[in-house]
């Protein structure tokens, strides 16, 4: 295999693995802020138990997120040297801001959060929880800003030629608020909230099914359900707004998402399908004119198709983009149905008696995770062949001086270490869940509350 493919595989693998954790940290952070806030407000010990329990899982998640995140920061330089020189002037400020404003905040207060229970007052502890949560939210902002600039560059000019060409900032705020930043930040935040909320729903649904920790599990489940219901729905809105941006700024990506080839024709909206890139055909179930309607509110309106672009400017993996995009959408729709139905049962007072629903919720933690991954794969593969949209090709961005064998060496090491890490994560998660928020044998509810 050649250097470019190996570098791409390694980057995709390391970043996808990394992305299991930060959304979970952000989402669990939100839930912990709610739990601890309720504890401070009501003085009800049950909320303290919940905060402490989720903090243990948060600590592991956060730790792996940081460890795998540092690798990303340096992998730009090791594997994408040409790209790094090209975008350093732009990304630099975003990364510097991320480090100072976001990571500085979350990592210092993390120590107080985990080890400071007996050393600071409950209020200061709560402020630390908020600090860590806000820090992780800011982190997402700067990282998504940098990625969005790659999708929809703004506030820059190109200086130099060939290997010495690079983008330089001309307008910092235009760079930060480039056309896709805001939509994507909100979309990513909400994806993270869903990851955290469904983690909480899953674990407490499991306890409720087993008849363990019922009192606190009902409380936690309801709170997480409110978050999940609201965010599942608003995620649809931010997703739509994001897609509108793709129509305007990256029409080739939108065309790939729906497998739309005709340069300018009304386009269908597929519920599911399979794209044959050779024959330029999609077989599947579609709403005729659906995409045209979503884009232009008119089923007859033409939508720009892939063939409006020269072959070398089209994404090569159209079917993959199509599939990832549709996986994300399908899961999103399913989550809306699931949470609305559960909320309906709650209103009717039947939520915790509906065992099959709790059974679905026990496994629901996987769904936002898969949707988050699929969404990113669609976004990144849909941007191809560009690494900086319209300016620098992925095939021009990798480190020219690094050999295929070096990458193979590091890729194998990553595979081994990350497999180990993932198993450890699952093992300790399982152990913490099995162990539970407190020891039921030793303490009955009255003695600990």
């Amino acid at each position: 295999m050649d250097v470019e493919i190996l570098a791409r595989i390694q980057f995709a693998f390391t970043v996808a693995f990394h992305y299991i954790y930060p959304p979970l940290s952000i989402g669990l952070g939100l839930l912990m802020v709610i739990f601890e806030g309720l504890y401070l407000k009501t003085g009800n010990k049950e909320y303290e138990v919940l905060t402490r329990f989720w903090l243990k899982i948060f600590a592991i998640t956060f730790g792996i997120g940081v460890a795998t995140g540092i690798i990303m920061e340096f992998e730009f330089g090791t594997n994408w040297a040409v790209y790094s020189r090209y975008v350093g002037d732009i990304f630099g400020s975003a990364l510097a801001a991320e480090g100072l404003f976001a990571f500085g905040l979350e990592s210092t207060f993390l120590g107080i959060l985990i080890f400071g229970w007996n050393r600071v007052s409950p209020k200061v502890h709560f402020i630390s929880t908020i600090g860590v949560f806000l820090g992780s939210m800011f982190s997402a902002v700067w990282i998504v800003v940098a990625n969005s600039w790659q999708q929809t560059p703004a506030g820059y000019h190109i200086v130099g030629e060939g290997f010495n060409a690079r983008a330089e900032v001309t307008d910092f705020w235009a760079m930060v608020f480039n056309p896709s930043s805001v939509d994507r930040i909100i979309h990513v935040w909400q994806g993270a909230f869903l990851a955290g909320a469904f983690m909480v729903l899953s674990v407490h649904a499991y306890y409720l099914r087993k008849g363990r920790y019922e009192a606190i599990s009902k409380k936690a489940f309801k709170i997480a359900l409110v978050v999940a219901t609201v965010v599942s729905f608003t995620q649809l809105l931010s997703g739509h707004s994001s897609a509108d941006g793709v129509v305007k700024n990256q029409p080739a990506k939108l065309a790939a998402m729906e497998g739309h080839y005709e340069p300018s024709a009304p386009a269908d909206l597929y519920l599911l399908g399979w794209v044959d890139n050779e024959k330029q055909e999609v077989s599947g179930i579609a709403v005729p004119g659906g995409l045209s309607f979503l884009v232009h509110q008119d089923v007859q309106a033409p939508v720009t198709g892939l063939n409006a672009f020269p072959k070398e400017d089209q994404p090569s993996q159209v079917n993959a983009v199509f599939q990832f995009y549709h996986i994300m959408i399908s899961i999103g729709m399913f989550l809306i149905a699931l949470t609305f139905y559960a909320s309906f049962l709650w209103w009717r007072g039947k939520l915790f008696e509906t065992k099959w629903l709790l059974w679905i919720f026990s496994f629901s933690v996987l769904l936002p995770q898969i949707a988050n991954q699929a969404g990113w794969f669609a976004a990144e593969m849909g941007r191809q062949p560009w690494i900086v949209y319209g300016h620098l090709r992925t095939s021009e961005g990798f480190s020219q001086e690094v050999s295929a064998n070096q990458i193979l060496f590091s890729l194998i090491l990553f595979l081994v270490i990350y497999t180990l890490l993932f198993l450890l994560f699952l093992y300790s998660l399982n152990k913490k869940i099995k162990h539970g928020p407190y020891n039921e044998q030793e303490a009955n509810l009255n003695s600990i509350y």
Partner: protein
């Protein structure tokens, strides 16, 4: 030169060079005691001692790691050319460094999670090896930077791929860095422990300081004799001879303070030693960042590697706003966890 925007008479690339230098010094000082403490890990025999040693850095190491992340970000931001060329030229050592960091984090998190002897022993080995090698590799990278790289046109590295980074000089700087970190780590642990572990550490620290003084002397002599041009900048500006003088005094002051059991001051002076040594390196390289061993005209300097003055201006503003905030967070964190380690139910 295009980047001649100045602040207080210092041009922006030089200012950013100082910022990066400051961040790397902070990283060396703080993670110096983290990695250093870990490099002693197997020298502690009892399980409880090992737990105390890990929990001494427990609430701090995540925060200390921020300095690596900001330092790396600052290099990427301010000198993208240097960041890209150095990381791709030093692909193998940096990949090893990164993976060892992951293993080290895992060891801290998971080591005490189970009671089984084999479990804890395995993690103890992983923890010890990763800390030792991380400290060593950082020194190796520094040695390579001092020696220069085979950099050709377009900032491209043309040297060997797999083992070139292990030159004799780089090995020497590797051992020196390891010994410096181990000294720093032992002093830090002395501040955090009591009883028999404390007594054992005073014994270990003495060995550490001897290890440091030997490797430091050998490396310094080798540098003066075999690395061309190291004294050029000092000959031009003799007033800067104050830096090697100060670093020598700081080095000498550490054993003195240790023998008086003034460990907090000893930690300060061992930290100053690191800062002065890095200043020494920074000053002798300036304004070069990466020396080309092929042709001086291909060398990467703070001027041809720098981001635009606009970008540097923005980043300097970010630093001016962010640095006091970060300082406040750190003061609060270190104040909260001052004093000896007490193991409780939140400990690792």
């Amino acid at each position: 030169m295009e980047n001649m925007e100045t602040f207080l008479g210092i041009d922006y690339p030089t200012l950013w060079y100082l910022v990066v230098g400051l961040l790397f010094s902070g990283y060396a000082i703080l993670e110096g005691f983290d990695y250093g403490a870990g490099a002693w890990h197997l020298f502690f025999r009892k399980d409880e001692s090992r737990r105390i040693a890990i929990n001494a850095i427990g609430p701090l190491w995540d925060a200390n790691q921020v300095w690596l992340i900001i330092g790396g970000g600052a290099l990427f931001a301010g000198f993208p050319v240097m960041y890209a060329t150095m990381l791709s030229a030093m692909y193998i050592p940096f990949m090893l460094f990164l993976m060892l960091l992951v293993l080290r984090s895992a060891a801290i998190k998971f080591r005490s999670a189970e009671e089984m002897k084999w479990w804890r022993n395995s993690w103890d080995y992983i923890y010890f090896i990763s800390n030792t090698l991380i400290a060593f590799l950082l020194g190796v990278v520094l040695g390579n930077v001092l020696q220069g790289f085979a950099i050709g046109p377009n900032y491209s590295y043309q040297g060997g791929l797999f083992f070139t980074f292990l030159s004799p000089y780089a090995l020497m700087t590797g051992f020196t860095t390891l010994s410096l970190f181990m000294t720093q780590g032992a002093i830090f642990l002395l501040l955090k422990t009591e009883g028999r572990l404390h007594a054992r550490l005073t014994f270990l620290l003495r060995k550490g300081m001897i290890f440091f003084i030997i490797s430091f002397s050998v490396t310094s002599l080798y540098t003066l004799i075999f690395i061309p041009g190291v004294t050029d900048n000092f000959r031009e500006n003799p007033v800067f001879f104050i830096i090697p003088l100060l670093s020598f005094l700081a080095v000498a002051n550490v054993p003195r303070l240790v023998s008086k059991k003034k460990y907090f001051q000893a930690l300060l002076f061992s930290s100053l030693t690191m800062a002065f040594l890095l200043m020494l390196v920074a000053f002798q390289l300036y304004p070069t960042l990466l020396i080309s061993t092929l042709n001086p005209k291909y060398s990467i300097t703070i001027y041809n590697a720098a981001s635009s003055k606009k970008s540097l201006g923005i980043m300097l503003t970010i630093v001016l706003i962010g640095a006091p905030l970060l300082a406040f967070y750190f003061l609060f964190l270190y104040r909260t966890f001052k004093g000896k380690v007490i193991l409780d139910d939140t400990s690792y």
